[in-house]
Symmetry: C2
């Protein structure tokens, strides 16, 4: 191992941290297994195991002698960037956990357990009143959490910071306001042009799962997915779980029709996985050996899914793979496929949204979460507010709760404040694209299937640092500016106005 960590105190911290890392590793595996292979009735015992391990992790992190050691680390002079990163991440984690008492953690986890079941039932019966008491409690608990964590201007600041270190609500407001007006006028033009706004017969065509599995595997081969360090499995909701620098696992799902969903899930998760897989190996088993924030992580998945995956060039490159395994694509031209992949259509369901309208779904959720946390709104009014926003933003109105406020699982899990990171991901992905275009011929490389070259650029720009720098500082250092929505707007204009 290259000696990135020379300071004796830091080395002592890292030695002690290995045990925390091991607990995290085992929890990551349990989480992955929950969604992939665990027999259904194993969930009760698994739940106990995860709860015990998570309490153990907290106790060990807050152990007096460890906290003092981290404190000592903070006071060391001449630390290098990696050493500073180690102290920053641990200090932040300790200070967050110190502020949130175990009783609140317990209450949150108990509530979200019950809320999740209520949410599922409420969706099934299309009855918001089954879920609303739990949402009310979740809001109350999140307000308490925000108060305990402390904030500058409003409770939302405290929660947002948990997911995107250093970012404030006012930053999001500025970014989102600008995005809204620009994307709205772009959307109007796209709709009127009718090139990307159309119905493709491909949406309805059924596929055989075995054939789609072959497509996904071959696309991952094309992208040089390192199978000796990574896996692809199946789960109800696609996700990426890193267990370590040499073990990162992604999943997808097979709905049996509209094959782009399964395909772009794979490419999306491939982007997340590539981030984790390209972190400097010297950072493994340290507190900075993972992706730095949800927004930066999402930028990597969106970069691969949208900027690369939904490009004309990528469509050209993968068409032979599609034609080889999915008979029905043979009757469609490259342009047909490209339009199917890049189509724009206002829709009610976030997870089915295209890369342009997706952001409106996030704007809506951000507004509602802020209202909730300000305590300015009655929970029972939320469905109507949701529907009204939807009509204002996209001109369509949910006809049921499951098409509206009950569509996402997130709030039932007890977390408020991380929806914005999805759009931050889209924004940073466009910034990354802009930066790469200065040094490499991105779209030529796609056509030439030189994906390792693209990966190498991303590695140098973002990946290799892990969590060494705050997300904002990383952007400043490597892109010369912080989160900036202009690049996303320009990218989308360029893509969607040029036919």
């Amino acid at each position: 191992m290259v000696n990135m960590f020379e300071n004796a105190v830091i080395r002592e911290i890292l030695e002690k941290y290995k045990r925390l890392w091991a607990i995290g590793h085992s929890m990551a595996l349990m989480g992955w297994d929950n969604e992939t292979y665990m027999p259904p009735k194993g969930s009760e015992e698994r739940g106990y195991a995860i709860a015990e391990m998570s309490t153990l992790y907290q106790e060990m992190l807050l152990n007096e002698s460890f906290v003092q050691l981290v404190e000592k680390g903070k006071n060391q002079e001449n630390l290098n960037d990696y050493e500073k990163g180690v102290v920053r991440v641990l200090d932040r984690e300790i200070s967050i956990l110190k502020k949130i008492p175990p009783s609140l953690v317990y209450e949150m986890s108990k509530t979200s357990e019950e809320a999740f079941h209520a949410w599922k039932l409420a969706r099934e019966k299309n009855d918001f009143s089954i879920f609303s008491p739990y949402l009310e409690k979740i809001i109350k608990l999140n307000i308490e959490k925000a108060e305990r964590l402390g904030y500058e201007n409003e409770p939302y600041d405290a929660l947002l910071d948990l997911f995107e270190e250093g970012l404030r609500t006012k930053d999001i407001i500025g970014i989102f306001d600008n995005l809204r007006s620009n994307l709205r006028s772009l959307l109007d033009k796209v709709i009127s042009q009718k090139y990307y706004y159309f119905n493709s017969p491909l949406e309805g065509i059924k596929y055989e799962r075995e054939k789609m599995e072959k497509v996904n595997n071959e696309v991952l081969n094309l992208l040089n997915f390192p199978w000796d360090r990574a896996r692809l499995d199946v789960s109800p909701h696609p996700f990426t779980q890193g267990m370590g620098i040499n073990d990162v696992r992604i999943t997808t799902r097979y709905e049996g029709y509209d094959f782009k969903r399964s395909l772009f899930s794979v490419i999306h998760e491939f982007g997340h996985a590539t981030y984790e897989l390209q972190i400097d190996e010297n950072l493994k088993m340290t507190p900075i050996g993972g992706g730095v924030s949800l927004g930066i992580h999402e930028s990597q998945s969106r970069f691969w899914e949208n900027i690369i995956g939904r490009s004309y060039q990528f469509t050209q490159v993968i068409k032979p793979i599609l034609d080889k395994h999915l008979d029905f694509t043979k009757g469609y031209s490259e342009e047909d496929l490209y339009r199917y992949f890049a189509m724009v259509k206002p829709s009610l369901i976030r997870t089915e949204a295209d890369e342009l309208t997706y952001n409106f779904h996030i704007l809506l959720r951000f507004e509602l979460e802020r209202l909730m946390l300000k305590g300015e709104v009655k929970v029972n009014d939320l469905p109507e507010i949701w529907n009204q926003y939807m009509e204002d933003l996209l001109g369509i109105r949910p006809k049921s709760y499951s098409e509206g406020i009950l569509q996402d699982v997130h709030w039932s899990h007890g977390d408020l404040g991380y929806f914005p990171t999805y759009t931050l991901g889209n924004i940073v992905a466009a910034q990354v694209r802009n930066s790469l275009l200065k040094s490499i011929s991105l779209y030529d490389l796609i056509l030439e299937k030189k994906f390792n070259d693209i990966k190498a650029s991303l590695r140098e720009l973002i990946h290799k640092y892990g969590s060494t720098y705050r997300p904002k500082d990383l952007l400043l250092m490597k892109l010369g500016e912080s989160y900036n929505q202009e690049y996303l707007i320009n990218y989308l204009r360029e893509k969607y106005l040029k036919i």
Copy 2:
């Protein structure tokens, strides 16, 4: 939960134990994942994680206040059997760990790591001298371990007790001596009769993996394998891993020919899994919620694999399943298949041995292990001693080390003293058979496919108690006597002399 644990001290112990259980659960999952789905390069980080968790487990078990609590539990009056079991198991585990210093644990695990790689290379190159220095060290460390644990007559006692609580070397010697002479004369007769001693063309027939998977799944369905609480996966070496009472996983392998190997692996592991799955649910997450010893566990796998699985009745019942998926079995009668399943043939490789000659392979290993632990033999003489024993026992002689002393992975893992439990398993399986025959019509139930009735009997006889009683005490209580090889000898005579 039924109140099996009423004593307040025991309840406090169980409450505290939950965390140890959780660590055990996560280690079980990591172990299973290692052999099934982990990407190969994940092994280094996984190794660190397992080492950290195992040290953590030891520290928590030996934590002063926990040890005192268990001590207090020992002194409680009027404990019921389950409460006594909890104290017995924990006290035993604590006293073992107290005697083995962390430095020895570390040395053992480091040596076995290196020894495993040396063993693989030695096998590949058919060069015992690559492995012998490691075996020498493993012997030395096991002698040290035995000395630290203490023993009555010889070092082997100490190690054997780790795997089969309460059993002594002299018990094994008595059992094995009797077994050897009786099975040897039986084997001679079987060979001379040539009914079970023959070559079946089925051994060489190749199968398609997908078809064999269907056979295995359908056989497990026939046995009412509870898929909502259990799984079947694939691994290089078949095994069973319980994560909890509602999550038990088995594996098999597909070599592509000689389909009985894959099939009987599944049935063998099904027997192990059924034991774990039928432990009283009230014992879950307690120290007595798992199988009691390696010997008793093996009795359950052997009961299903040999006594049920290789019976004429079972062959009749599964023939339609075989014929449905494996075209080639259609040309063979029930009797052909039965003889193929039950065939007897002296062979060099333990894992390929039949139910009669298997025990000779164990006798040989037991003798060699005793020699090693007595320090009476030079490591370099072991291959020749092995070969000589093999010739004496089965009349065949290995031509290479990999057919001889290098065939098993076990010693390279650092463990000496548990081979005898394989034959103990065969012995107890026959005792269980004898007991069941008094109360149920075992072979009729097989023909009627009433496997749940057989399971229910095994549950009452053995499974439900988990580790409540010492293995010997369980046998005494439920079968009226301790380990007794007579039933195995009689069962094998009955089976193999009646044509």
